[in-house]
Symmetry: C2
Subunit: 162 residues, 2 copies
DNA sequence: TGGCTAGGTTTTGTTTTGCAACGGACCTAT
DNA sequence: ATAGGTCCGTTGCAAAACAAAACCTAGCCA
């Protein structure tokens, strides 16, 4: 059979997200979209991705509601790809990944780019907090629970019992 | 050439991160690792991933310093896979993705699981803030700048230093 | 007429994946 | 002791996704 993992059976929000953006190129396409890329040729130049693959990814992203198309020229018909609200909400995912890459792949010196947080003027460093209490994340401070009846015993639960 | 995107030319922290965890299965393997999975058969049962692929991914994750192995049985030699510090730091990435999946794939009702933030007792909702000023992210509040003058260290170089 | 651009699609191979079978090395129950 | 079971992979094969480059449509330019 094919390559793609059948994330859909996983019944998990992470798997659901990966089903949309889990492709090797998709997140890079979106990274460029956040930096203003909107046209086929721009992505092709920047990423060097095969044209057929790029066409397939853009089509899938539109189908999934992450991007929309808009004609910027009637004759000849030319369309550009814009982030939807759903797509813009992926920015935290990319920033979190960028933060990890800066710290753990590039190390001390930091990555090749700096992101400046305009409101405060300092380098932006991503920090994840609990929206409810505003506290930062600490190891092991989360407990998983099934929301729906149809119970799926997780490993976490199984280990908690042991 | 083969299938795999050559992220290494991208010279970008996102691409660097994807080089480590951008594989279709890798993030699901790590998701389970955060829920306590440590052994080959556990992953195989839960994910249904092909055994050769799982073996390859685990090997790559160890090579990349995201997981370590530890013998839990001398005879027969059996090893388990544990998250390193570097690996544990990927938790924000997974939580951010989970938050997006909950909101945009599952929608109103929320995803199949709830994550409880033990310190405050409420459902954990991920929020990304600027570590410097503590303010939440708003659209277009980041500016990108190149850090280095002439030279952009490639991922390959960065890894060679490590 | 010929050349150029933008945005793809088609064609032709190469890589990777999924699957199932096999392997070794050790336990345990009969 | 021998048969079965567990755990952790490795090997071989067909199918799917991929990469590269040629090709196509549709207009525009001169």
């Amino acid at each position: 059979m094919g390559r793609t993992a059948d994330y859909s059976k996983q019944s998990c929000a992470v798997a659901a997200t990966l089903e949309v953006v889990g492709d090797p190129w998709t997140l890079l396409i979106l990274r460029d979209a956040f930096q203003g890329v909107r046209r086929f040729e721009q992505w092709q130049d920047r990423l060097g991705v095969a044209r057929n693959v790029l066409a397939a990814r853009l089509k899938a992203l539109v189908a999934n509601g992450v991007l929309t198309t808009r004609l910027y020229s009637e004759r000849p018909p030319r369309k550009e790809y814009l982030l939807t609200h759903k797509g813009k909400d992926l920015r935290p995912v990319l920033l979190t990944m960028a933060a990890w890459g800066d710290q753990h792949v590039y190390g001390e010196g930091g990555g090749p780019h700096v992101r400046i947080h305009d409101p405060c003027g300092h380098e932006f460093k991503a920090k994840l907090v609990c929206e409810g209490c505003g506290e930062a994340l600490t190891p092991g401070d989360l407990t998983f629970e099934a929301r729906h009846e149809g119970h799926m015993p997780t490993v976490a639960e199984a280990m908690a019992k042991a």
